[in-house]
């Protein structure tokens, strides 16, 4: 356990997250309008979304399927009977004056997420529920000195609200939770997880307590839109609460905002100001009843998820838990690795992928999908090492060229003349030259200064521009120095 040191001793954070994940679907949750990001304002709005008189919601089956798929991916209970409720409040970007959501009977119940911790270990965090709801529109307050503009493109888009148990204890765990959840959603193809586009948003519940004490009063930080901000907000909020408590104060239950410029949380509304949402079942919609067979059909189409893939990588490829975790974090990375590893030494493949490739991508700010080095070409490079065409050292040079040009490793080796010298005659000639040029060093070596061996190897490699096969160099040099 990681505790925060306060004036009065250790404090423990208790964190629960509510993630709003935008469902990948062509149409909105209750209308046929499109859901593309970045379209012209108010160009993707039906009369249902704009809550015109007499308009009625009709559930989009695709969105239900995506919620069930996500529930299955979170190893959660799928509720075959669930109910849509109206959450009533007034706001200009909420056209109907209510949001259709699920309150007491959500479509998905308890599930779990396994966190991959930096030390290679893991920890299970409970999922309380997942429910379907509509997104609201967007208010733009900076377009006019006194008026607000409303864009309803997002109004009615399907969201999955995924609520965790208050099982998280550090900001890092919260970050790990979000990364893992995002990874699962992306594997499932149910949410693209792009926090910067707002398709995944997070409300953070934070409280602090003395280790072992009951839960403290929590504050909710609304709508934090990056993993980094979530972690910063948690750190700040926990310290703020500890400071208040240690000065003898008490925490007021309230909703707060993360100020991304000042790096502080600010009060948004107190418990007294909290909305009374007057939830009641939406009479325009019948309860959602799912067929068990339909759910099972979805289960059969689930892809291999990160946890299973990680276990398989460890078992089949004998990778470390850490490497396996890094490789399965993104489906595309795992696929890349498997393509490289196929028919090759998996450990060597993992080293190249997680080391050289990820390092280069990271430095260049590229995603795996944008890699200039294809999996086939990286595999080809490993093959060139394996068949002694190039040495490991030369391979680094070839990789750099591949990353720069996207060319095939064989072409680069040929073009640059990097092919390894395995002609024993040529190596012998080079060695003879080095020995002849350094008679004093040879004498020293022969009189017992054996660490000079490395000096001779270096000289030979220099003579051959590094292309001499190191094993052959060692063997012949050893033989010749013995005299």
């Amino acid at each position: 356990m990681t505790y925060i040191q306060g004036e009065t001793g250790d404090w423990e954070m208790v964190i629960g997250l509510e993630v709003h994940a935008q469902v990948i679907s062509n149409a909105k949750l209750f209308s046929g309008a499109a859901t593309d990001f970045g379209a012209e304002p108010n160009s993707q709005v039906s009369f249902v979304d704009a809550a015109f008189p007499g308009m009625l919601p009709v559930i989009n089956e695709r969105c239900v399927e995506q919620a069930v798929r996500t529930g299955l991916g979170l190893k959660a209970q799928i509720n075959l009977f669930s109910v849509f409720d109206r959450k009533n409040y007034f706001y200009a970007d909420l056209p109907a004056g209510y949001q259709i959501s699920q309150y007491t009977q959500p479509i998905v119940g308890k599930g779990e997420i396994v966190l991959d911790l930096p030390d290679g270990g893991s920890r299970t965090v409970g999922i309380t529920r997942l429910h379907l709801e509509q997104d609201a529109g967007k208010s733009l307050h900076d377009q006019h000195p006194s008026k607000s503009y409303i864009d309803l493109n997002r109004a009615g888009v399907a969201l999955m609200e995924i609520v965790s148990e208050p099982d998280l204890r550090t900001a890092e765990e919260a970050g790990a939770y979000l990364r893992k959840l995002r990874s699962i959603l992306r594997y499932l193809g149910t949410c693209d997880g792009n926090m910067e586009e707002g398709s995944m948003r997070c409300d953070v519940n934070v409280s602090v307590r003395k280790p072992g004490a009951p839960f403290g009063t929590r504050c909710e930080i609304k709508n934090v839109n990056s993993i980094r901000f979530v972690q910063q907000a948690i750190e700040y909020e926990a310290r703020r609460q500890i400071e208040i408590l240690e000065e003898g104060g008490s925490i007021a239950q309230e909703t707060r905002l993360w100020d991304t410029s000042k790096f502080v949380t600010r009060s948004m509304r107190s418990k007294e100001e909290a909305h009374d949402y007057r939830y009641f079942p939406d009479p325009d919609l019948l309860p959602l009843e799912l067929d068990e067979g339909w759910v099972e059909d979805i289960r059969l189409t689930l892809p291999e998820l990160p946890d299973d893939k990680k276990a398989r990588f460890i078992a089949d490829y004998k990778l470390s838990a850490y490497d396996a975790g890094v490789l399965v974090a993104e489906k595309a990375k795992a696929e890349y690795f498997e393509a490289v590893a196929k028919g090759r030494d998996p450990k060597l493949a993992a080293n190249w992928v997680t080391g050289d490739l990820f390092g280069a991508l990271n430095k260049a700010g590229l995603e795996i999908e944008q890699s200039p080095v294809t999996a086939g070409n990286l595999g080809g490079l490993i093959d060139l090492i394996a068949d002694n065409t190039i040495s490991g050292r030369i391979a680094k040079e070839v990789f750099e060229a591949m990353f720069e040009t996207g060319e095939k490793p064989g072409d680069i080796v040929e073009k640059k003349g990097l092919r390894q010298v395995t002609d024993t005659g040529a190596i012998e000639t080079a060695i003879d030259g080095v020995l002849a040029a350094n008679p004093d060093k040879v004498a020293e070596y022969r009189s017992g200064k054996e660490k000079l061996f490395g000096f001779f190897v270096g000289q030979v490699m220099k003579q051959t521009q590094g292309k001499a096969n190191p094993a052959l160099v060692n063997e012949i040099l050893g033989r010749k120095l013995k005299g």
Partner: protein, 493 residues
């Protein structure tokens, strides 16, 4: 044959088919009648040009041999149905100037079958009322009011909320009209004006494009002068609509064909709980007469019990306002209709909604908001839902013993405008017999059966099994025949 507007819908359909007159002629007669009706304030928007264009198109279709079931029949549309490019107000100031860019499913179905729109008729604001006295566009006066139009000795209410529909049909200014019924808004005005009004089973008619009052109770239905006419019109109005999740995917029967007149052996349930305190003796007597008429036609009266009836009205006045408070949240001045500016968003809301909603609508929004609030939800809304379940169960039990239920439509004849106005509870009591039917989602209808001592019409209500409108209509036609209600209102257009 008299003036074209004196025909029943069925007669008009025959006359058009036999080419005795054209749809344009029939429509012109009704446009004239509509003009004569003006002192009664039945219309919010008359659409004579639309009507004539539709009639002309209808005649052309007929000439080509393609006549629909309601081909060329001029009807009035309650101004709660959205009609494309024609102002739709829900009788509220808050929707002032709103022209929907879409057509409701029910009216689309009617136009598909050849009907012709005379215009949009008045109603209680957002269909909230039982006397058509809450409209922003003024009270509707019943054609049953004594005296000269505009100079009545007593202004009688047409009932509500479909008061404009009832007045128009009763005054022979339309062959039929659409209504909506949330707690009796078709049946009570039909009863008050001596016409037939049918509320079908919840889910029969699509609610898409009808301005919502209480979504779990609202249901559209026909109002006309004969049972057969409502049967014809209902067939055109209803049908599955994928755009309404509560619409039911069932075949639409030929309701008119069910009117065989043969009700021998049918069991007619008489619920003892509908003998309410203070009900006038003449209503009790008419009800008894109704039992005798059906018995004489071969039906078997059966005493039944609907024990939770007395809880229906209070439950209704929790559920309906609760849903309304949420349904009416969209009228905020942001996107359509009335907008009264303010210094900030909250002021915009307050100014717009304060100016846009009338007193009764505001009252129901407040009641609805209250019963859904934290701390009150369980005691009111949840309790009302439990009552609703019990009421449904009552009817389920009753329909084990009978095939149709007979009751009065309302506990009195129509009253005068200005009467019953100080106490909203008195007004709400008007719905005592009709409300349970909505809570249970059942089909119900009002058939004109007699006149009271004051010379005003009295209706009897029939309640059917879910989706068994056919039996209900069949019994209704027999009742209609036996009652022989022929009295016309003092004003006929």
């Amino acid at each position: 044959m008299g003036a074209l507007n004196r025909l029943t819908m069925a007669e008009a359909i025959d006359g058009l088919a036999r080419k005795e007159f054209t749809a344009v002629e029939l429509t012109e007669a009704h446009i004239k009648a509509t003009e004569a009706l003006r002192p009664f304030n039945a219309y919010i928007t008359e659409t004579p040009e639309v009507a004539l264009a539709m009639a002309k198109a209808s005649d052309e279709r007929r000439a080509k041999g393609g006549a629909g079931p309601m081909e060329g029949i001029p009807i009035a549309v309650k101004d709660l149905f959205c009609t494309k490019d024609v102002q739709t107000t829900a009788a509220s100031h808050i929707l002032g100037g709103f022209k929907p860019p879409y057509e409701s499913t029910v009216t689309s179905n009617l136009w598909r079958d050849g009907a012709v729109m005379l215009g949009k008729v008045n109603l209680d604001e957002f269909a909230m009322g039982s006397a058509n006295i809450t409209s922003h566009h003024g009270d509707v006066v019943s054609p049953w009011s004594p005296g000269e139009p505009g100079n009545w000795s007593r202004r009688i209410v047409p009932g509500g909320s479909s008061g404009g529909s009832a007045a128009t049909v009763a005054a022979r200014a339309a062959l039929g009209a659409t209504g909506t019924d949330t707690g009796g808004s078709i049946r009570q005005p039909a009863g008050f004006t001596g016409i037939v009004g049918v509320k079908p089973t919840y889910g029969r008619c699509s609610r898409w494009g009808i301005v919502a009052f209480a979504s779990s109770l609202d249901q559209a239905g026909p109002m006309a002068r004969t049972v057969k006419d409502t049967a014809i019109m209902l067939r055109s109005m209803c049908g599955f609509d994928p755009k309404d999740s509560t619409s039911v995917d069932m075949p639409v029967p030929d309701f008119a064909a069910a009117l065989t007149g043969d009700i021998r052996g049918l069991r007619v349930g008489i619920p003892k709980e509908y003998r309410v305190d203070g009900m006038p003796a003449e209503i009790e007597a008419l009800w008894q007469k109704g039992v005798e008429w059906l018995k004489a036609a071969g039906a078997v009266p059966v005493d039944i019990s609907l024990p939770h009836t007395k809880y229906a009205l209070p439950a209704y006045y929790i559920v309906a306002p609760a849903e309304a408070s949420s349904n009416l949240a969209r009228y905020d001045g942001v996107r359509f209709g009335l907008r009264v500016e303010g210094g900030n968003l909250k002021e915009l809301y307050e100014n717009t909604r304060g100016a846009g909603f009338g007193k009764e609508v505001r009252r129901r929004i407040l009641i609805g908001t209250y019963v859904l609030s934290a701390g009150y939800y369980d005691a009111y809304y949840l309790q009302a839902q439990k009552v609703r379940t019990r009421i449904k169960w009552d009817f389920d039990q009753a329909f084990q013993l009978c095939d149709v239920i007979l009751t009065p439509t309302a506990p009195s004849t129509a009253f005068g405008i200005g009467e019953k106005m100080d106490d909203p509870i008195q007004m709400y009591l008007n719905d005592v017999f009709t409300v349970p039917v909505n809570l249970a989602g059942l089909p119900g209808m009002s058939v004109p059966a007699g006149v009271g001592a004051d010379g005003l019409p009295l209706g009897l209500q029939l309640i059917g099994r879910p989706f068994d409108e056919e039996t209900m209509l069949k019994v209704g036609a027999v009742l209609e025949q036996a009652a022989g209600f022929k009295t016309e209102p003092p004003f006929v257009a």
